[in-house]
Symmetry: C2
Subunit: 263 residues, 2 copies
């Protein structure tokens, strides 16, 4: 099994970047949106003079298959503290995803001001390690082979036929390859699977239409603590908001997405 | 003074759209980000077969000046329930902003599930109508001539030298031209001025780097109720999240932005 760094590697070729999309970073037969954003941001980071991905907004157009893909990076603006890019992921000359990416410099300085303390969660060892093969599930969550996802037991009712109306889940996440989290792998962590809809008892796909992530700080080594919640499911669409804190309890990243859903 | 519909009007010309950016939709000498997104989304809506802007993510590259601008719309994917586009705003052949836009169909159906009740706010008449010319302010907020912004008095401490550490403001908003809110004008409402940083006592510009908005429902006639909060100011950047409810108390739109800030 390839590490996260290997699974998201890109190499320059003919003015673009070539990637080899990895079947393990998938939910059922669909590659994971956070993983695809990490590949896009990896290519932008390779092309940019600022070292870190600070923001990504991605429109998901067509699910790519595992295998070769091409990322094209177009500089839009180069500033002193940030630079902005457009990046597209193509497979067989079809655009699968397009992203607007901001690069900058992240550090681990204390915040000037913060109103986002980490949420209370049971200790990592008291949380439930989600299996890639859940009993009775319609598909295999391969992603859970490569991301260790320990769910707050309070969010686990859906697995035993007792969904919760709270629309909120907490979890501890680690990369199974033992690597520490970084600004690229945090994009995977922010796109938590399962979706909130499943915890509400709505089974079936919730394909992401558009996803926006902000990295706020370089994370300390150790697990990420994630809190995800939704505001509303209406007219076939659901929003999800995720916040991530590192092992020191500092806010490191945040995201929002809009997903399609059939209820 | 032109109405919102007039100030954001676009007309097709040579495969693109021509707009006349209006100096009233500005904070100091900078055109308002929500207004620029409304112009971008107006052009996409004119080009699209789906009637409503459902999602917009915009990278702000260079502040345009009032006057002529050109919006180019590129279709990325046409689906049954949604279609996705790239839109760029240019002035003098320089790209000022680029957006990823999702079009779809909004309605005013009851939500399937909601965890976003409207916040408690004092009645509109008990809130404080913000003036375009604030005593002692370094610049004029022209936007407040065209958007009636009634701020929750609890958020008003900053104006009398007593900033609050809460990082949260509530407000009632109406268009001064008397028009009801729609999916395009809600993009203006979601980019609330003043920024959270000002309520914390941090004066000076907080220029938006990237902004993402989701429209969730067609709003009922009457004022919008907005709640905006920030999670953190760190390493020269601030996030802001806004939620909007209509006069019936239904969630109609939500947004997040990352802004640069000097503290």
């Amino acid at each position: 099994m390839r590490t996260f760094a290997e699974a998201t590697a890109v190499r320059p070729e003919g003015g673009a970047f070539r990637a080899e999309l990895d079947a393990h970073w998938a939910v059922g037969d669909k590659l994971h949106g956070g993983y695809l954003m990490a590949v896009l941001a990896r290519a932008v980071t390779a092309a940019a003079s600022h070292p870190h991905t600070v923001a990504v907004s991605t429109s998901f157009l067509l699910p790519p298959a595992p295998g070769p893909a091409v990322v094209t990076v177009v500089p839009l603006r180069e500033g002193r503290s940030t630079a902005q890019f457009r990046a597209t992921l193509e497979q067989d000359r079809t655009v699968c995803a397009e992203a607007l990416v901001t690069q900058g410099v992240l550090d681990d300085a204390e915040p000037y001001w913060s109103a986002a303390p980490p949420p209370e969660l049971p200790p990592e060892d008291d949380c439930f390690l989600l299996p890639a093969d859940a009993p009775g599930a319609a598909f295999r969550v391969h992603l859970l082979d490569v991301v260790e996802h320990r769910l707050d037991p309070a969010s686990l009712g859906f697995a035993v036929g007792r969904p919760s109306p709270a629309g909120r889940v907490g979890a501890w996440l680690r990369l199974a390859d033992g690597a520490d989290w970084d600004p690229l792998s945090m994009l995977v962590a922010l796109d938590l699977a399962p979706p909130i809809s499943l915890t509400l008892g709505v089974t079936g796909w919730a394909p992401t239409i558009t996803f926006t992530a902000y990295n706020r700080r370089l994370p300390a080594p150790g697990p990420l603590r994630i809190l995800m919640n939704a505001a509303e499911i209406t007219s076939g669409r659901m929003d999800e908001t995720a916040l991530a804190w590192d092992a020191k309890g500092n806010l490191v990243a945040q995201a929002t997405q809009l997903a399609a859903i059939r209820v």
